[in-house]
Symmetry: C2
Subunit: 300 residues, 2 copies
């Protein structure tokens, strides 16, 4: 009897990957009983606040698409989640986006105070590099390259730079090009880094790395356009965070510049480009495709 | 004619090392014209605010004591200075120590606002790892080890942990043991890491690394005891930062717990232990000795 291929179950995939990442994260982070306990409580509060683990899932899926082992990808998956979480803690601070809620829970500075929230972000950013240094290196992708990949995607030219441009763009009329500059940095940079690291953990070929780069870049941009759309179309309850914030602070968004329908079309086009990049994997990238579909169709 | 050994000139040593480090730092940091310009101006404002470059000097001196080349030590020297500078920017924030002046100049958040100050600290912390990844690795000290060394000294168990314990210790009566716990983390951890990295950049022996560890630990503690002493004995003008702050916020310090004279004795004892650790270098550690003397005798 010929073996039948089981249809891909994205939900099941995300549930098991989230569990795997959470267990690994629990091992990598100091326990809540470790002195000074406040900082470890704060780090764990934000890491285990119910994030969707999209970046780790993409990283693990990219590793699988390149024939890698999940165990080799896992430290890097935890490292990017630490970077992502630190950036949210700092972005939510009163001096930045001033958000009281995130994923339906009070933000770090509301629970622990501003000083500890700044330090919890600092500690998670540092922890990311400590975890990444413990990943497996390959001759083609030694630790030097893995660390550079994370540092460049997170630094002043990318992730931090995007937040700066975002802060400075408030209450200003931005062009689509300026908005894309922000999105490339605030969102695409770390998503792209995640899938690239997944490929690197699997000792991928240069052609596979380029395909993952194209995929991550376009998924990242699509993700952010959809975030902008959801902010104007959904309620705070549906989102689990304050809705309508972009309008309230007169932040430039795709809907505010090009309208809602055009924004939806742009998101779909970006996702098409992402899918096209996956052709090289010839059917081994169904998890990556599934996650991209999920990111485009999500309603929160 | 027998060659005469030139007496060691500490001042000349520090001047030339500071110039070397400043030139390297200028190469490693994005220019002020790089987008987004605000973040690069803020990073450079604090990096070039007149810091004494003690950690880089110690790192380079440790490398020399182990027979290493300054060029191999330089990226690591710049990396630790980025870590040190980021920690000062964040410590000075209103939510932490709330300092308006540092080295006689307005602090980052006074010049750029709190949001950019947080992000400039984040960017420098990230930049530290980007620079460290570009250092030379050795089979005994590969990049994996160099990155772990920096991340552990800077993370929630050490540098960040010390700042947390310091914040939580305000307005509390601390024991000498609790105060030492804070000092080990706030000051010794990164000084110790600096001299260790210097040794590693020179492919030092395990015995040399242990000697540098002992030296760094004790110099770090001595340095912090002296900082406490200067805070109560010097004026703001002499220090170039707000004096008497520890008393104003009722922060526990060595002078407040054991008195001024006992504090001076402790600082001297710690320095003696540091010097003892340098015996193994048999006269090649005169720069390290000179800097330790300078740190003990400094009046600001």
């Amino acid at each position: 009897m010929a073996s039948q291929k089981t249809p891909f179950d994205l939900n099941q995939y995300l549930v098991t990957r989230t569990e795997t990442v959470n267990r690994a994260m629990d091992r990598f982070l100091p326990s809540e009983k470790t002195r000074p306990v406040t900082i470890h409580k704060a780090m764990r509060y934000s890491i285990f606040a119910g994030g969707k683990r999209m970046r780790p899932a993409l990283l693990l899926a990219a590793a699988e698409a390149c024939g890698g082992k999940p165990a080799d990808a896992l430290p890097l998956a935890c490292a990017v989640e630490c970077i992502h979480t630190y950036s949210l803690i700092h972005d939510d601070l009163p001096a930045m986006d001033n958000d009281d809620f995130r994923r339906g829970k009070p933000t770090s500075h509301k629970v622990f105070g501003e000083g500890i929230a700044v330090l919890a972000g600092d500690a998670l950013l540092t922890q990311a590099f400590e975890i990444a240094a413990q990943a497996k290196g390959w001759p083609r992708y030694p630790h030097r390259e893995l660390i550079l990949e994370i540092a460049r995607a997170s630094g002043s030219l990318q992730l931090v730079g995007g937040q700066v441009a975002d802060l400075e763009g408030e209450n200003k009329k931005l062009s689509v090009a300026e908005l894309r500059y922000i999105h490339e940095r605030k969102t695409s940079a770390l998503l792209c880094c995640s899938v690239r690291l997944g490929g690197m953990s699997a000792n991928c070929t240069p052609a596979q790395l380029q395909a993952l780069t194209d995929f991550g870049y376009h998924v990242g941009l699509a993700f952010q356009v959809i975030d902008d759309i959801l902010d104007v179309t959904q309620t705070s309850e549906q989102l689990g965070k304050t809705a309508g914030k972009d309008v309230a602070v007169q932040k430039a968004t795709y809907p505010s510049i090009v309208g809602l329908e055009k924004s939806r079309k742009i998101a779909a086009q970006l996702t098409d480009k992402a899918f096209a990049a996956l052709k090289i994997f010839k059917g081994r990238a169904e998890a990556l495709e599934g996650i991209a579909q999920y990111l485009l169709k999500r309603d929160k």
